[in-house]
């Protein structure tokens, strides 16, 4: 089976949407999903637990150098950057913030693109800065697929707009449509 994955990034206004997406996933997804959301530095606890309530898929804040397992959802831990390593493990770091953010969506997206290449689906949701735009560019360089949430539907539209402006967004979709795309991407095994 192809080694493929989904990466999702967002900040202001994206948490509820991520909750919704997770609650509508099939029971078994057979691929890993990586989620990188900006959140308050002090809010270190309870995030994964809250998401887990609505999901039968394991939601994990990973340990540094842990092996990626299909059918898991990985959330970037608060205050850490999350990298996808070429040996199929996850790397964490507390280097400087990028785009005023740690975790940085760009770093997760870029390293995921380098590992999953054309078999990566990147999704950018509501958010208030341009983190993710460089990541989208990298995903397209490797012929992956990129989707931005319809800015009209976003609580804060800066993040998807900056990805769209960058000319590296394949589709602009509503949440309802994004959920369908995810389900299709998961079920479609090359």
């Amino acid at each position: 089976m192809t080694n493929k994955a989904i990466v999702i990034g967002g900040s202001a206004g994206s948490f509820k949407i991520v909750m919704k997406i997770i609650s509508l996933l099939p029971k078994k997804i057979d691929i890993p999903i990586f989620i990188c959301l900006h959140r308050l530095r002090s809010a270190r606890k309870g995030f994964a637990e809250t998401l887990q309530i609505n999901s039968s898929i394991k939601i994990i804040e990973p340990i540094d150098k842990e092996f990626i397992v299909a059918n898991n959802i990985y959330i970037a831990p608060a205050n850490y950057h999350m990298y996808i390593l070429q040996n199929g493990r996850i790397g964490l770091s507390i280097e400087e913030e990028l785009n005023h953010s740690r975790p940085s969506i760009d770093l997760t997206f870029i390293t995921a693109a380098e590992y999953y290449k054309e078999n990566l689906l990147g999704i950018i949701l509501s958010g208030a800065n341009d983190d993710g735009a460089n990541g989208f560019k990298k995903i397209k360089e490797y012929n992956g697929t990129t989707i931005a949430q319809d800015p009209q539907e976003c609580e804060v539209s800066v993040m998807p707009l900056s990805c769209i402006k960058n000319n590296c967004t394949d589709k602009i979709l509503t949440i309802k449509e994004i959920i369908k795309e995810i389900q299709f991407f998961i079920s479609f095994n090359i």
Binding site: R41, I63, D64, K65, Y83, G91, S93
Partner: protein, 279 residues
Amino acid sequence: MDIHDEEIKEFIEIFASLSTYNFSDYSEKSFRRRMEKIVNDNNCSLTDIIKKVKNNASFLEKIVRDITVNTTELFRDPKVWLEIQKEIIPKLKELNTINLWHAGCSSGQELYSMLMFMNENGLLEKTKTIGTDINTEILEEAAKGNYKYRFNFEYLPNFDQVLNVIPEKEKIPYSKYMDIDQSKDLIKIKPFLLNKAEFLKHDLVKDKNIFSRKFDFIICRNVLIYFNNNLQNKIFDMFWENLNEGGFLVIGLHESIMGPISAKFIKKGQCYIKKSANG
């Protein structure tokens, strides 16, 4: 700016030939990001950096400083400190002397947090503390114990979450351990704590135990994440060798011992305890 893998490889080889620093087992993605940052900050190519490093020893040291990540906080992750209180402190109270090693201590905020913590537990007098880092300049900063208020004040609530947990007890003021002057943008660690720490240069990649003693307690948090899995395992072996039986190792909240050496420790939360020789 994109840097080629070959350039990074060359950089690592040149460094290994010119100095004692070996970055070949650093974790690839974060190392690449350090390189990108160095190239951007210096506004030149990595080839230029390599050229300059060859002719200029102090520039080489500067690059080493820029490669290492210096992030440390007062009482980072209060939850871990409460675990230390429960799992480690009672055992340390049984010892006559406590040898403490803070590996990769950076500018020392966490090390001084530990000394405050030891003091509140009545253990400061019998604790011998060594803080080490690869970066000598940051160790000088650590020895001074002067920190910018604006970069550190947000962690002061952690102090309360760790040291002021019992509501009935009289609150321990920050001023017991630190002089805080917001107008001067300064947090100064009090001299009686500064005097309790010794700082030494140590490179976890190649240096073994250079201290002619074993330790009861090793703290190394969010340092090994910059190394690949093999090097992490080697260092965990080295820590094990240098712990007394029943000694403790505390690592970062999102770190874990994954290699075979994990069988030689008992794990309680973020606290690892060295098993005795007969299991």
